[in-house]
Structures are given as C-alpha cells and as structure tokens.
C-alpha cells in the first residue's frame, strides 16, 4: 500500500505555488525561468500521480511531452536572454520596458 494520491497532489499544489510566487517576485530573468521549471515539475508530479491512480499510461506520456517542451522553451528563452544581455548588461525584467504601451 503506497501513499495516498492526495499527498502527491497537495505537494504538487505547493510546489506550483512556490514557482508562481517566484515568477511574480523575482526580477532576474534566469531565476524566473527556473521558477517556471518548478511549475512544470509540479505539473509533471500531478500527471504521474494521476497516471498511477487512474491506471492510465497517458499521464506518463504527457510527462514525456512536457519534458520536451520544457527543453525547447529553455533553449529559446535562454537564447533570448543571451541576445538581450549582449545589448545591455545586467538586465532585469524591469529594464525591458521597450514594448510598454
């Protein structure tokens, strides 16, 4: 008998909340990316838990796809960060207000 699914899901909720909080309060773009990774991991944990509870392999396949999308997102996002940092040193998210309306 393993742990109830409620515990995994509650842990996923808390992990997602910490990631969302980090995205909201941090200004370093790289740390914001890491907090997005935290949120993706919380979603992965939820997917795996539901795959176990519902006996459905689709949750694990979705985790696979989330991994691929996270890798692509990090690559493109860090490319953008490198392109921004080449133009101006020490850029935080508050400095990037060029498109502000």
């Amino acid at each position: 008998m393993t742990i109830n699914a409620d515990w995994y899901l509650a842990l996923g909720v808390v992990l997602f909340s910490i990631g969302a909080f980090g995205v909201l309060i941090r200004r370093n773009v790289l740390v914001m990316f890491m907090c997005v990774e935290l949120m993706l991991n919380a979603a992965n944990l939820t997917f795996v838990t539901f795959a176990r509870v519902l006996h459905d392999i689709g949750g694990q396949v979705l985790v696979f796809f989330v991994l691929v999308v996270a890798a692509a997102e990090v690559v493109v996002g860090l490319g953008i960060v490198v392109a921004i940092f080449r133009r101006r040193a020490n850029a935080t998210a508050d400095d990037l207000h060029t498109m502000k309306g």
Binding site: M1, T2, I3, N4, D6, W7, Y8, L9, A10, L11, V13, V14, L15, S17, I18, A20, F21, L24, I25, R27, N28, L30, V31, M34, C35, E37, L38, N44, L45, V48, T49, F50, A51, V53, L54, H55, D56, I57, G58, Q60, V61, F64, F65, L67, V68, A70, A71, A72, V74, V75, L78, G79, I80, V81, V82, A83, F85, R86, T98, M99
Partner: protein, 252 residues
C-alpha cells in the same frame, strides 16, 4: 529540514495506511522538494538557485520512483538535471551574472504583498477544492492500462501508436527550437543592413532618414524647416524603418 521531514512523516503516516518505508521516503523526498523550491526563490545568487533547482529535480525523481515510474525518474534526472540545469549554469557563467542580487529593493510598490496574497489564495483554493470535491475525477483507461506490464514497454508502445502524431510534432518543435536559438544567439555579421542592428541605430536615427518618435524635436531641427507635414512624418518614418527599440534607448 529535519523537522519538516518529521512533520510530514507524522501527518502522512497518521492519515494513510502505507508502510513506514513509503512514508519515510515520501517525507524525505517532499522535504527535499520543498526546501529546494524555496531555495530557488530566495537565493540571491543565480548559481545557488540553479543548484537548488537540481535538488528539487532529484526530489521529484524520487517521488517518481516511489510511484513505480522509474523510467521517467531516469529521464527526469538525465534531461532536467543533466541538460537543462547545465544549460542554465552555462548561460549564467557565460553572461557573468553570477553576482548577488539585492532582494530588499522592491521596484514596483505593493508587488510582493499582492503576489503573496494571490498565491496564498490560489493555493488554499486548490487545496480546499481537492478536499471538498475529491482529487481524482475522470475516466480511467483512456490510453491503456499500466498494470501488469513493465513501465517502459507500455510507455513506448503508447508513444509510438496512440501518441505518434504528437511525438512527431515534438520532433518538429525541437527542430524549430534549435533553429530559433541559433537565430537568436547568433552574433550578427558586421556589414549587414545597419537599420536592423540596434547598436548602431541610435546615431543613424539622430542624423539620417530613420527618425525616432521620441527624437521628433531633434529631427525637426535637423531637417529643413520648409518640409511639408513634418510633425506627422517622423513617427511614420520610424514605423516604416522598423527600429522600434530605438526610441526608448535614445530617450533613456
């Protein structure tokens, strides 16, 4: 952290009928995950944040193992901790931004209380929703049962039959991401169109045809005074020239 492990173990063992090995493993993994996640958010140095992210990822991999999902745990460690975090650390070191950040300053007033309020509201809402209505809803066995066979067999079979088209789409996504990263991070060749290069766009804007919107007064001084429609022409010309980043740069 030991206290957190103890509290989690006590509560988990009191509410479930699992064996103490499962409860202990879950408690340690959950404490590692939470401590790592909090460390990512509160660490001043981005390198410390990346290392705390590795800690969280290992904890999540441990939770995957605990749910008999060893293949995804291995993939989690290899792809996340081995590739993505290394990419983060490479970019941090490449850009030289591994210096301390002052977390005391708050540029947007009221941002942190608002963030705390929103996140607390969302968290309690989700937890209450789970307690009231039950977590697990929906139909089981949509894509095939995962009982009886080893995990990797079912995962591979499902990936290459039911989810074949999304699998191919991820291949296309990765190709697009690689091309996009190369196009973004590539240093532009020096003798291309100077309008595209925003490093040199400022001086050209002040003197030449591509007049920026913020530098309208300077452009009117520079241009001949008898030219028709001069108040409307500079913003229009800047829009055609395609250098939208230059007004803020020259203005600030």
């Amino acid at each position: 952290m030991i206290g957190l492990i103890g509290v989690l173990a006590a509560v988990a063992s009191a509410t479930t009928h699992a064996s103490w090995v499962d409860v202990g493993t879950f408690s340690v993994a959950a404490a590692v995950v939470l401590a790592g996640a909090i460390g990512v958010v509160v660490a001043r140095n981005p390198v410390h944040s990346a290392l705390m992210l590795v800690m969280t990822l290992f904890g999540v991999a441990l939770l995957f193992v605990l749910q008999q999902d060893s293949f995804l745990a291995a993939v989690q460690v290899i792809v996340y901790a081995g590739a993505i975090v290394v990419l983060f650390l490479f970019v941090i070191m490449f850009l030289g931004v591994d210096r301390e950040e002052n977390l005391g300053v708050e540029p947007l007033r009221g941002q942190r209380p608002l963030a705390i309020g929103l996140v607390a509201l969302g968290t309690t809402g989700l937890l209450l929703l789970g307690q009231v209505s039950g977590w697990t809803t929906g139909a089981p066995h949509v894509a095939g049962s995962d009982t009886g066979q080893p995990n990797v067999n079912l995962l591979g079979k499902s990936l290459y039959t039911t989810y074949l088209f999304p699998f191919e789409a991820t291949a296309a996504l990765l190709i697009i991401a690689v091309v996009g990263a190369v196009a973004l991070a590539r240093r532009p060749p020096p003798s291309t169109n100077p309008v595209d290069d925003e490093d040199t766009a400022g001086p050209i804007d002040a003197t030449g045809e591509t007049v920026a919107a913020d530098a309208a007064a300077a452009a009117e001084v520079a241009s001949p005074p008898g030219e028709g429609g001069s108040p409307l022409r500079p913003p229009h010309a800047s829009g055609v020239a395609g250098s939208p980043g230059s007004p803020e740069e020259t203005g600030s």
